[in-house]
Amino acid sequence: MDSAFVALLLTGLFVGNYVVARFLGMCPFLGLSKKVDSAVGMGIAVTFVMVVASLLTYPLYQLMVKLGIEYLRTIVFIFVIASIVQVLETVIKKISPSLYSAMGVYLPLITTNCAVLGVATLNLESELVTGLATALLNGLFSGLGFTLAIVILAGMREKLDKQPLNKHLKGFPISMILAGFMAMAFVVFTYIKLGE
């Protein structure tokens, strides 16, 4: 069990990082990384939804395979995710308005987040995921990997936006180049032999 745990941890956080290595969840990654606190808020919200999404979609898919209708997986997954987000938004708004003002405003963004549907789909194809427990772990670590990437970029961008810079490079192009350097740094981890 522990070797799978470590393999999932390393894949989720570094080797197969959802943002930098697999290009999932790019819109919030670049849209929300202007300030570190908004990045952290988004990261937590995405990780939470990813875990809940993995929890619901994995058993649902097993049922669909038994019945032979797995071609409907996209429509069922995204419908479940949209409903999760809708329910979460109303519940958090009621239970703790303070948490809602910190994190809740990002929830509607999560429905159109490629990372959440990505984790639901990749859970089925990744060979590390064998059961529901590993699916949940994969969801958690991929979410943490997303948070790690978005917070690092937010830190860099906050400092960089104040530097005197060519006005055409300011804003989006420079954050793409920053993300490029991050991608280079993360590639180093791919050479770790993962349980081979």
Binding site: F23, I75, I78, C114, E125, H168, P173, M176
Partner: protein, 227 residues
């Protein structure tokens, strides 16, 4: 909005790849080969046009409380149609099989592609069916052209070929086909696009100001004459 405005809007002014920066997940992932970019662009355009039409039809029927789930349902249906089509066609020709395999996880991810839901929310749910269809078509075309352009640049640099045809004869900087290359190439291309876009805009502004200056000179002369 005349169709000419919608066209210019979709293709240049609000080009999804270079101006509005929507659908970044698919742009970065599918631009390693030009043929992948083209395939993805066509698939996204098909889904965009169909879902725009259906959503603008349903806009009064859908209650506000479940608006997002309903829109997502419609979009997911058309994405599954594309998936089935690709599965059917890839049995016929290996080229499509290659593209379908390269798209991989990004084919079902078209559902959450920011372009489609953005256009559905911003445009389709407020305009008529015809306008939505045209808007979807042109935004899709703008996306396809942008993505294929990025694909050509990255493939030429990354593996020395365009659409699979070896041109630079084995010369290749593998950096460009890796994720890091995707980020940096895309960033620089946008910077280039901004520079040219601003120059065009300045030229237009200068021309307009020159036109208005000549106009105002005539006014002041008349003013001075009878002032």
């Amino acid at each position: 909005m005349k169709t000419r405005d919608v066209a210019v809007n979709g293709l240049i002014k609000e080009n999804a790849v270079f101006r509005m920066l929507l659908g970044l997940c698919s742009i970065l992932a599918l631009s390693n080969k030009a043929i992948n970019g083209l395939g993805m662009g066509v698939a996204v355009t098909f889904v965009l046009v169909c879902s725009n039409v259906v959503i603008s039809l349903l806009k009064r029927v859908v209650p506000n409380k479940v608006r997002i789930p309903c829109y997502v349902l419609v979009i997911a249906t058309f994405v599954t149609v594309v998936e089935l089509l690709i599965k059917y066609l890839s049995a016929k020709s290996s080229a499509i099989a290659q593209i379908g395999d390269a798209m991989g996880v990004f084919l079902p991810l078209i559902v959450v592609n920011c372009i489609i839901l953005a256009r559905a929310e911003a445009f389709a749910s407020k305009n008529t069916v015809g306008a939505s269809a045209i808007d979807g078509l042109f935004v899709g075309m703008g996306y396809t052209i942008g993505l294929t352009l990025l694909g050509i640049v990255r493939e030429l640099l990354g593996s020395g070929s365009i659409f699979g045809l070896q041109i630079l004869g084995g010369f290749r900087i593998t950096f460009f086909s890796q994720p890091a290359g995707a980020f940096i190439t895309y960033g620089l291309l946008i910077c280039l696009f901004n520079i040219t876009y601003e120059k065009i805009e300045q030229n237009n502004a200068n021309r307009k100001r020159k036109a208005s200056v000549t106009l105002s000179n005539q006014v002041t002369e008349e003013g001075a004459v009878n002032g």
